[in-house]
Symmetry: C2
Subunit: 220 residues, 2 copies
DNA sequence: GAAGTTAAATAGGATTCCTATATATCTATC
DNA sequence: GATAGATATATAGGAATCCTATTTAACTTC
């Protein structure tokens, strides 16, 4: 592909538009809070991961390492994050959210913005569709090396796509040993372990249910 | 809704992730160009619209008006945009891309980044699905007043959803007087005219094809 | 152990991005 | 038509983001 195809170009424009709306939303949600969207995003990442290196923060935000250092310093000044030496590697620094940081993150994460409402207004089938498409895109970006590996179900060694007949919960997670449906697929699971045979799992997943109705819905 | 529902929350996270990837992409694509993603986005907007007011630029980017003024000034310093008095309204300023600006925009828009490739890797049916979902979301945001009115087919008075029997091109545009399919729906059409009966058009569109197979695909 | 690689910090600087306010101009009202 | 209010932008002021290039320290490899 030497040229963007028109539809992909349109989708990028749409993504850009939604991204801008999300960013504006975040500023609005933080109007009374002592931080800005970038800091809030880092804080949430630190809480979710229970600490992270500077490089991981930079990769998560998609910014350069010095920028991550800058923003982490801002969080530190505000007493929301702390820096500790990494024992395994003397070059590295681990960043943690403080108790105050965790508490603040908790209140911020429950706030509902315009984008949340727009997403919630989709009907459940559309939401599930969108989630599947996002997972697909994130996986594509990961394969390209454009983003750091995400903790997706579809690349996890515990994931068994279409292990069950139940159309509402066809998948199985071997870690929690439970069946679940497409709407419960995760983008960032703490129990994730990268599968060696990720490609194989993906094929099984993207092929859809293995029964007769696996035929494409586009076909009448 | 006083609390984000879990799936909507997950979708917001996904959107955030894709937005970050897109931003990183834009920086990479502009590595050798004399501007940054924000300026490039403004420049593209100015070219698409053939000029815009400061306020419209701010609304498009989802930033405050002074921020838009700042970035427009940066484009002006670089000789890529120009400011003119708006004749209709003495308070307003119209911003235009210069010939150099238009030329630069042209070369930049043809560049293909990681996000474009990730989108292009989706199969055509998935791309069409994603476009429909984006349109739905953008419309929801517009209804909430969270973003400025976009020039969408689905809110245009020339749009006739499912006017034809052809499953590949069921819609009709009365402006160009031609049939077209879901993949050709626009997010920013220069010929757009806001429909008075937008809600009605939307209902007709979202209900799907009016024939017997209009039943929800979720139903067996 | 030397050379190369990697993680983070530092330096330096342009720009983004905000809120608050000033200025002009338009619009609606008495 | 004068006046009050609303609107469009610019300005002021300042914190942070964000970059590239470089330095420092620590790990890794041969």
């Amino acid at each position: 592909m030497t040229q963007t195809d028109p539809l992909a170009r349109k989708l990028r424009d749409g993504l850009e538009r939604l991204g801008a709306a999300l960013r504006a939303d975040q500023w609005a949600a933080l109007a009374d809070a002592p931080l800005n969207p970038t800091q809030a995003q880092i804080l949430n990442f630190l809480v979710k991961r229970g600490g992270a290196r500077v490089g991981a923060v930079a990769a998560e935000l998609g910014v350069s390492q010095p920028t991550a250092t800058d923003s982490i310093a801002a969080l530190e000044r505000k007493g929301l994050a702390q820096r500790r030496a990494e024992t395994k590697d003397g070059r590295a620094t681990l960043i943690f959210a403080t108790a105050r940081g965790r508490a603040l993150n908790e209140t911020l994460q429950t706030r509902v913005g315009a984008t949340d409402r727009a997403l919630a207004a989709l009907d459940p089938a559309e939401q599930a569709q969108l989630l599947a498409l996002f997972i697909n895109l994130i996986r594509n970006l990961q394969l390209e090396g454009a983003i750091a590996p995400q903790r997706l179900c579809v690349t996890c060694r515990h994931f068994r796509p279409y292990a069950h007949d139940d159309a509402n919960a066809p998948h199985h997670c071997a870690f929690v040993d439970a069946a679940f449906g497409g709407a419960a697929l995760r983008l960032d699971c703490p129990d994730h372990e990268e599968a060696k045979e990720a490609e194989e799992i993906w094929l099984k997943f993207s092929r859809g249910a293995p029964t007769g109705d696996a035929a494409r819905e586009a076909v009448p």
